[in-house]
Amino acid sequence: MTDPSVVDVPPQGALARLLRRKLALFGLAIIVLVVAGAVFAPWIAPFDPNDQMFDGLTLEGAPMPPDGKFLMGTDLLGRDLLSRLLYGAQTSLVIGVVANGLALVIGTLVGITAGFFRGWIGGVLMRFTDLMMAFPALLLAICLAAIFQPSLWIVAMVIALVNWVQTARVIYTETSSLATRDFIAAERTLGASTPRILFRHILPHLLPTIIVWGTLGISTTVLLEATLSFLGIGVQPPTPSWGNIIFENQTYFQTAPWLVFIPGAAIILLALAFNLVGDALRDVLDPTQRGRD
């Protein structure tokens, strides 16, 4: 038993406590950097991302490795990789944050509803989730993308409609175990309405899971976008995205490794940054973890 007088945490805002964590700060810095890069790409990019430069290729027509002029080298068509990465960040952020966030919201709503109500509502929702899970995601994405005109936002929507299933499954399981806990029963005896129980009492307990699935989703959605682009139904060339830079160049992995490594590292770094911030956010928002940081 903890003596209540021992645990004295100075009252602080969640943001202040978040900023005291070094790792979270590091993650936050990367996110800010990427966002700034994407937003200010037209001003900070050294070249036009689609400009196939004559001096961007060697005399034999091979891409240039990183040097003083092209800081990250050039690609197969002589375009500056750094500029393409900066512009590509716009696409990838939309996919990784918006599409993935939307998938998370859909998954959470389906999971929490099915887990709390069980019965036929839960049955129908979860069987539908299983159906979606069994269906090849790529095939579904192709079908959806074929119906609509390809554009960045349509791709984002398609990815969201494909990627929510895992989240729904996990949230469903957690909600159904939370729903049987005593404090939820206590809440019912007090006469609380169902939305209040769901969003005020159950949702905060799901945050850690949502954060983990959200950060895991960033890299998968960024790559799924690349796959769709590769198949011609995603972002149309020459518009760059981190995923399609990797896809275009993966065949030359042996001779021009920087073309795969650098965008790959960018995706991993972004996912890691979101993960670090998400983790810290989870700890900061969880009152039972207070005093341990």
């Binding site: 005593d182 007090l190 039972t288």
Partner: protein
């Protein structure tokens, strides 16, 4: 002491050999503020054939001591920082893990509190027993099986051969604990550590398990370290007692001395707090109008099976129960686990679908629209058994207490907060702690928070479902006092649900005894405890361990019969219990086929 009588040979011996010697044991936990001592300078000798009880409340370090002896401390976070544990020629604190494994189970065995979680649910009882035997004895499959059956027979399980093929979930709680004892004793260990062995069991089952342990000890001469918070169990089982408080040994003496002449102030306080039968003070009978009225309430849970999900069986959780709770009265429901007492509570707060009629303050619960139901919920509030589980850990205490006011839209934010502060003070907590979270409080304080939350709507009836069962005795006594004080202040009624006969005797005005979903006896506290009529009521009262070692318990013929099941096929009605008034409202049940 019963053991000495049962075991004249060892009792008469001048000084039985010491099997385990603990000297200056210190155990500490590593925290960010440095080492935090959990057990400090504990010393005792354990002699062959004796039962040494280590008694204390939660956080006293008694379970840590048992884990230290077994070498099962969660290292490296918690480790032995001083002293020695001598077992024969060896110092257990210095042994390697592999050497300890030889000792563990074979020469020192342990049984735990919760028999369901300490048995592997996917292995049959026989497989687990045989495995335990073969881990230490170089015997073949058939020999191990033979020994396993013998061990099951020794713990008086019926049909041991059949039990070998059963899984833990097919056995009742008492049977599972017997399997654990069989497993522990199959290898004839010299020392048996029993950590709260009967805490999770019903009183009548507890009685059987305690009798069994005593008989086995007399036969095998095992030394037992009994770790318990229950002074009644201590009085009945132990030869010597160590009382621990916050990791320190407060007092060590023979059982007679501890109960007869307790020296330390803490021991005296601990004994004074133990609820005893026959301590309840007589109150003037409450004759107000009924606040809650149940007539012929039936709760059944269908079990479905087969392809089409047809109802194959019904669980008769509550069967034709009728009673009234009067205004300002404390009405107690007692019975063992599965008797339906908690289901009645759930039906009363509208969490269990029921048939029959439930009236709260003259208004029937049936056919209420959601708004009416919400209004009715204001009148009946509930306090749960485990306060930690019943409080949302992510909400501040102030928010938790104000929650009912927010839900029912009473007052603005400022007045709700003021009311929460007021309620905190009412239940004996500091109003300035409103912004703390539940985990920053102790168990007893958390239960006070739950009580404050239940009070917020000024209900007519508060249901206390095993609300003090999870608390230490000294805390329990204070929470019971609080409940009484609040009742005289606000005049609400309590429905007090408990398995603990001594607590019920202390707090209630009227009592109903439940068995298998039906009430078998009902009357005033004096009638039930002074003149119990139904055999089940008598059995319950007799089974309560009495915290007085001088009282000798007659060895009764053991009732090894299984509790009948409340599961019936559709259309099949279990035997109804008809209540007959034998004078002054004392109702006694007789079964009618």
């Amino acid at each position: 002491m019963t053991l000495a009588e049962a075991l004249p040979a060892s009792g008469a011996a001048p000084a039985p050999e010491t099997v385990l010697r603990v000297e200056g044991l210190c155990v500490s936990a590593r925290t960010e503020q440095g080492l935090k001592p959990l057990v400090q300078d504990l010393s005792f000798d354990l002699r062959k054939g004796e039962t040494l009880a280590i008694a204390g409340e939660s956080g006293s370090g008694k379970s840590i001591t048992s884990l230290a002896i077994m070498g099962l401390l969660p290292q490296p976070a918690v480790r032995v920082t001083g002293g020695s544990i001598r077992f024969g020629q060896q110092d257990l604190t210095a042994l390697s893990e592999s050497a300890l494994r030889q000792v563990r189970g074979d020469r020192i065995a342990m049984i735990f509190q919760e028999p369901m979680t300490s048995l592997n649910p996917v292995m049959t009882v026989g497989a687990q027993l045989s495995e335990a035997i073969r881990a230490h004895a170089p015997v073949g499959r058939t020999e191990a099986r033979r020994r396993a059956i013998e061990a099951l027979r020794a713990v008086r399980l019926s049909e041991p051969e059949r039990r070998m093929g059963q899984y833990p979930h097919e056995l009742s709680g008492g049977m599972r604990q017997r399997v654990m004892i069989a497993m522990a004793l199959a290898l004839r260990p010299e020392v048996l550590i029993a950590d709260e062995p009967t805490t999770a069991l019903d009183v009548t089952v507890q009685r059987e398990v305690l009798d069994l342990l005593r008989d086995l000890q007399a036969r095998l001469g095992t030394a037992i370290i009994l770790i318990t918070h229950d002074m009644g169990v201590v009085a009945e089982m132990a030869n010597r007692v160590i009382v621990m408080q916050q990791g320190r040994q407060v007092e060590t003496a023979s059982t007679e001395d501890i109960f007869g002449r307790p020296q330390a102030a803490y021991t005296q306080a601990l004994l004074a707090a133990v609820p005893r039968l026959g301590q309840g003070s007589a109150r003037a009978p409450v004759t107000g109008e009924p606040i809650a009225r149940l007539s012929d309430v039936v709760v059944r849970y269908p079990l479905r099976g087969g392809l089409l999900g047809r109802i194959t069986h019904n669980v008769h959780a509550v069967d034709h129960v009728s009673f009234d709770i009067r205004k300002g009265e404390t009405f107690a429901l007692v019975g063992e686990s599965g008797c339906g007492k908690s289901t009645i509570a759930k039906a009363l707060v509208g969490l269990a679908p029921h048939q029959g009629r439930i009236e709260i303050g003259g208004q029937a619960m049936q056919g209420l629209d959601p708004a009416g139901m919400k209004a009715m919920r204001r009148r009946v509030q509930m306090v749960f058994q485990d306060p930690m589980a019943a409080l949302n850990p992510r909400m501040k205490v102030g928010e938790l207490i104000a929650e009912p006011l927010v839900i029912h839209d009473i007052g603005d934010a400022a007045s709700q907060r003021a009311r929460a502060a007021d309620l905190m003070a009412r239940v004996g907590l500091e109003a300035s702690h409103l912004d703390r979270y539940p985990h920053e409080f102790s168990g007893g304080q958390r239960q006070r928070i739950c009580i404050a939350r239940a009070l917020a709507l000024q209900p007519d009836l508060i249901i206390a479902d095993e609300s003090v069962s999870a608390l230490d005795v000294s805390v329990q006594a204070r929470v019971l006092d609080l409940l009484r004080a609040l009742q005289s202040e606000f005049g609400m009624s309590y429905l007090f649900i408990s398995h603990d006969m001594a607590v019920v005797d202390n707090i209630s005005d009227r009592v109903a005894v439940m068995f298998l979903g039906q009430i078998v006896e009902m009357g005033t506290r004096a009638q039930i405890f002074g003149n119990p009529q139904h055999p089940y009521t008598r059995r319950l009262i007799e089974a309560v361990p009495i915290p007085d070692p001088r009282l000798k318990r007659l060895s009764r013929p053991r009732d090894a019969s299984e509790v009948p099941s409340p599961v019936h096929r559709p259309g099949h009605e279990p035997a109804r219990v008809i209540l007959r008034d034998i004078g002054d409202g004392h109702l006694v049940g007789t079964s009618v086929g």
